[in-house]
Symmetry: C2
Subunit: 507 residues, 2 copies
């Protein structure tokens, strides 16, 4: 046995020895992972909430995704949306538990859920597995079929094959799986992946963990965070010096930018990807969250198919969706799917194999996804109620998107693009030079310093722009539009006042 070093024996003699697993010895790629959305700001917000609870035990508590202190944390969830409540009732119905004593009748008489998607208690009759059993690794076939029908309705009848739909543990799981397939090579041949800046940090975190090369392309803040193909070209050319770019990620509607891409833009991106031989990943989890007049969601799949040959039959595409967004916001169930288009059949088999190693996505999340993709049809008794609730939720989000833009743009030193879609604003803040210097002394990014001070002094929790990426010398933060309208107004005003005070303090 050749294990012991002198060093180690000495430490053992002293009764002390280093751990097997330390920062020095652990996976260096994991160390490079960063994930601002649950980073120091959110950690600190949770600590403050704990402290608060100690002095005021009955403080109202928000779901942790929201870090209760401010109800402004990044995890999206529609606050008290009624459609959400309806969704949950549905989900409960899908659980084939023995009905609680006294509930049997309610399960069987005309509860709305019987008309929305499948009647849950009849799971057996529909050949659905019990949620307590593993499902197929690609998800329950019946739900894959419902997803395919949803995609077809969404895309004006363009066919979708259920066998190209794979259910997942939230969209994140599917995104990571597709990225895993793409990573290969070493040194100059290592896979590069183009991602937008600012981006949702799942992308940078996953690329770091996989040891792939992150290739940044910048969205144009001056044009409401539009994606510019010339910038894609620039990023690609530069990247080819040191890696092999093989994939292009697009987030539409944008997180954190709120941008909704035009059809022309999507066509140009597809043409670019085709010409440059890039696999396209379209993160479309906010497809139901479009608010701005004149903005409309166009799926990459639909645009691709309508472009015809050679694009339609050849461009490889993976499109992701989730139960965590939209008007339901059921993030805790971790439901999602990916639809792959033009993927090599053998690679698709490899993807299924990779998913199999984790057995299956959570079955309750699959059931919830089924509800998301199978809203009541016009002939269903619950149709009118559902439509009214959905419209109310979306109209309120639209009003909050508008309000956010308006209040921020009235504040000196803050500018905010229209929140065309998704659930966030990503305003730009001017930070005085002395604040930037002070941050540097503290070893903090300047916007991190600003956000920490904001949290400590107002209880408002927002995520610094540096966690998403931004042009050198600019500073931003991401804030959700989810709090109730009047509360959101107060928060926006409070934040604006804090910024003015902060600016004064460091001027």
């Amino acid at each position: 046995m050749a294990s012991s070093t002198g060093d180690q024996s000495q430490m053992v003699k002293n009764g002390l020895r280093t751990k097997v697993l330390t920062l020095d010895s652990m996976n260096p790629r994991v160390q490079r992972v960063e994930y601002a959305v649950r980073g120091p700001i959110v950690q600190r917000a949770l600590e403050l909430e704990q402290e608060l609870r100690q002095v005021w035990p009955r403080a109202p508590r928000c779901p942790p995704g929201h870090t209760g202190v401010a109800e402004l944390a990044p995890a999206p969830l529609a606050h008290a949306t009624r459609a959400e409540g309806l969704g949950r009732a549905q989900s409960a119905c899908l659980l084939p538990s023995p009905p609680l004593p006294g509930c049997e009748e309610a399960f069987h008489r005309g509860h709305p859920c019987q008309h929305w998607g499948r009647t849950g208690y009849g799971a057996e009759a529909h050949h659905l597995p019990a949620p307590g059993a593993y499902s197929a690794s690609s998800g329950i076939q019946l739900i894959r079929e419902d997803v395919a029908r949803y995609i077809e309705r969404r895309d004006g009848g363009i066919p979708a094959d259920p066998n190209n739909v794979f259910l997942s543990t939230g969209a994140s799981d599917a995104i990571v799986t597709v990225l895993k397939l793409l990573v290969a090579g070493e040194g100059y041949t290592r896979t590069g992946v183009l991602i937008p800046i600012p981006q949702y940090p799942l992308y940078s975190a996953t690329l770091a963990e996989l040891g792939a090369v992150q290739v940044d392309y910048y969205l144009d803040e001056e044009r409401a965070w539009a994606l510019d193909v010339a910038e894609l070209h620039r990023a690609l050319c530069q990247a080819r010096d040191h890696c092999r770019p093989r994939a292009l990620c697009v987030i539409n509607p944008g997180n954190p930018t709120g941008q909704v891409q035009t059809r022309e833009c999507i066509e140009a991106v597809i043409r670019f990807a085709f010409e440059e031989r890039l696999f396209l990943l379209a993160d479309e989890v906010y497809q139901d969250n479009v608010y701005a007049a004149g903005s409309q969601f166009h799926s990459f799949k639909k645009v691709l198919m309508e472009m015809g040959p050679p694009y339609a039959g050849q461009q490889e595409l993976a499109s992701f969706h989730s139960t965590s967004k939209g008007y339901m916001g059921e993030c805790g169930f971790r439901g999602g799917y990916v639809e792959v288009v033009n993927m090599d059949a053998a690679v698709q088999q490899q993807m299924l194999k990779l998913m199999s190693v984790r057995l299956c996505p959570p079955v309750p999340g699959q059931a919830l996804l089924d509800l998301v993709v199978s809203p009541p049809a016009p002939t269903d008794p619950s149709f009118a109620q559902f439509q009214a609730e959905k419209q109310a939720v979306l109209a309120e989000l639209a009003a909050k998107a508008k309000l956010t833009e308006q209040v921020f743009n009235e504040a000196p030193g803050i500018s905010c693009n229209p929140v065309q879609g998704a659930m966030y604003s990503f305003p730009r803040v001017q930070l005085p030079l002395r604040a930037v210097e002070r941050a540097q002394e503290l070893g903090l990014a300047p916007d991190m310093f600003f956000c920490l001070r904001l949290l400590e002094e107002t209880g408002i929790c927002v995520v610094p722009g540096s966690g998403f990426g931004q042009r050198e010398g600019t500073y931003h933060f991401r804030m959700t539009i989810l709090p109730p309208l009047e509360k959101l107004r107060l928060l926006l005003e409070k934040l604006s006042r804090f910024h003015a005070k902060f600016t004064l303090e460091y001027s």
Copy 2:
């Protein structure tokens, strides 16, 4: 732009071009991943089920985890266990949906679930997040605390710190996360991980994907699959020639072996890990599944703590548990946890960061885990009913374990160790030389050939031993003990008869 090659231009001209992502260009590590538990046999079983359904649409359907044809597929789930039903009712209660019309009363009057763990409908009062919201990435604090209390009761009062408990998406998720932390180095310094042979293929699949070195140690089939420390030494010594072994995985009770380790064995393993500086991963998901007289589950944590210094305060350990096994078998919810012991604090932070990138484990799975770790106390009204159901489930499993061993050992050419615990038998089968040769002609492992023939001719689906690993020249298969007793008897007899016929055919 330096992208196009002549080759490619030619193909484009012909309207044909290779995909960006092909078997040749994809992640070679992903290609090396193998996962027999959902491999070709199970795929084929699903195809057969589909075919069957076409000719007989009302064929009874099993949860897909079970590939209905035979109800013998590897995914474990207690068949029609009553305790399971109780678990689900609990889980439904945890969903804070508005009660269905007509159910309000049942939710509030004395339904047993109100006495088992938390009353679900009162989630708000207990500061539990709604299942529709993200939880903290490490899981709901209240549930981490319940898990810690469960561990303390299990281990005779040895303290467990909730902050060392991390909830996960099934145990698989946590196992992969800990392995990710451990992988570092290149070439001769690449991390090696010792795993048992036969093993649960999550380990080999994950190590392949991470590019870590799999170091096999063989369990001793002659001694009921016992773990022998001399064999650990042999494996370690050989591995040190080509990698840096840093971790040791132990599965107890064993999957697929059914072995339950003695306390002496566990002590010896801990001493070995300590001396050789190996991080210990204890896969203890079958801790509630021990059947054999004289066998008892000892947790690695408890044994480690009772060994005192220097082990107790220094040996690094991660212990995994799941909602998918035990007497509840709620696999579709994907609940699980890891408890880490003596982990470096900075590494623990890195682990939390890694978990944060996926936001949180599914909240319904967390709720179900809470039920698993919080059974009714003796003072609860549901205590007697729960105990009776639990005992009935475990007694039936014990009877089926015994039956399996007995029927197989009566069959010529099949030998089966006692199924001391877990949910599987892993019998050894003699295969005639001509069958081995025929398999080689077909490019199949001999036991894969046997299992495929078995499936085609009897509809019985078992997984070949080659997917779990076995000594060269020996052949096995894994079969669950989950079907109802009388059905299991028929299946065991049918399988034994098929083996006799197969042997005759190739002799």
